[in-house]
Symmetry: C2
DNA sequence: ACAAAATATTAGACATGCCTAATTTATTAT
DNA sequence: ATAATAAATTAGGCATGTCTAATATTTTGT
């Protein structure tokens, strides 16, 4: 049985390792400071918790270097991520929450422990594979759908892409996207890219034109359109 | 902001006061020992918590006598009861849980704090007025439906009654009722009552006959059938 | 290569919530 | 009315999770 704080620490480590895996090479390690920032605590508190989790065999801690998850820790983190994203999906799909309103509540709901609940919820939602922000929902065995996405900033003019996910589901960013009518799953034609500020002009399949700044484009993860 | 433990203590006090109000006269008080039993803790821990809650103005604590809820405490308890019963309803109605499987999970879910979540859930469920055990769900202002129910043991032969609620939703009891096909809302004709053991024979509107022991009958709360 | 800066850990403290054992107060039985 | 019993509180202790300040180690900049 893990406490709420233990679970949150594991999830933070998992998220940071995901990020660094994607940006730098494989096999990076999560830093104490980054974990503390993500959880709004202090580095010293994180060190304490890392020692505790290492003793429980959930992660490997090399003092002054950082941590990696053990198989057990990875599994626990994935179970939490699974619950978080299933609840987010429930809140948006069934209760009519906006995709920018779900994070805090899911942050609480994810800690409810009942396998029957988690699996029933998944079934009730029709086994969704992605959450409202486009992030993949791990299945009950901890398998995560892998997709080859890249930021919209890496696209060239003329490409057709589908918006797969939003990187840092920040509240203000999600509201901006709502206003522009930009949403997960939509397909866009990259019309132009300004040299001056890096802003990008998009046109949806339905003919809707939108311009996004470079800052926004960097947060939009797109995937190639199949056909 | 109340902690989980504070909330659970308030709810225990509320439940005990409800019980004693119904059985004895009005204005009874909840005892330290009863609270401890209900929460599976020790009396000394309860005393600590009662002092804390009294300082916060949530209840009135007269040492060596017992506690009553203040208006603030009553409101907080009712919010918790509301969430508990809404979640139980969700689990049964939407996720297909059995009515004997919901308590533990609802015990966790009730502590998730988000008014938007609670109210959306209520609306999603179609503003249910009773939970799967027949207990009334307080509305967002803390109003609770009052019904005049009595245990089946107080009925006389020949009466027609509707099963309104199950008193102590004990797991084994609920399973027994499931097996006999007895459920909330069903209307029964009281056919006979044995002098020897107090067992009662019932016949449902649909013609299904069931016999229940006195022990079971004492837990079945019934209300008069409207005509 | 070294000093300065950044990052991490340790030491020591505090709040919370729980426990056991000892003590106080209330209830009950004779 | 008093003694025995039950219930409640207090005292003292422990685990958890957090903090600040002091110290250790690594990384960075020149
Ligand atoms: Mn969380
Ligand atoms: Mn998400
Ligand atoms: Mn609870
Ligand atoms: Mn119930």
């Amino acid at each position: 049985m893990l406490t709420r704080s233990e679970e949150d620490h594991l999830k933070a480590v998992y998220a940071l390792l995901q990020h660094s895996d994607q940006e730098n090479g494989r096999n990076r390690t999560a830093s104490t400071k980054a974990i503390a920032e993500r959880l709004s605590t202090k580095a010293s508190s994180v060190t304490d918790m890392l020692k505790k989790l290492a003793e429980k065999g959930l992660l490997k801690h090399v003092p002054y270097y950082g941590v990696k998850l053990s198989a057990k820790g990875q599994a626990a983190a994935l179970r939490l991520v699974r619950k978080h994203r299933l609840w987010e999906t429930f809140l948006v799909e069934r209760l009519g929450f906006g995709w920018n309103e779900v994070h805090e509540v899911a942050e609480q709901l994810e800690h409810v422990s009942s396998d029957k609940l988690t699996n029933s919820l998944e079934e009730y939602l029709g086994h969704p594979r992605f959450d409202p922000h486009g992030d993949p929902i791990p299945d009950r065995d901890g398998n995560v759908q892998v997709r080859s996405t890249r930021p919209l900033t890496r696209c060239v003019v003329g490409e057709r892409v589908r918006l797969a996910a939003v990187k840092g589901p920040n509240d203000a960013l999600l509201q901006l996207l709502d206003q522009k009518g930009i949403g997960i799953g939509m397909v866009y034609h990259v019309r132009s890219r300004q040299v001056f500020d890096g802003s990008i002009e998009l046109r949806s399949k339905e003919g809707q034109e939108s311009t996004v700044s470079e800052q926004v484009a960097a947060q939009l993860l797109v995937e190639p359109v199949r056909p």
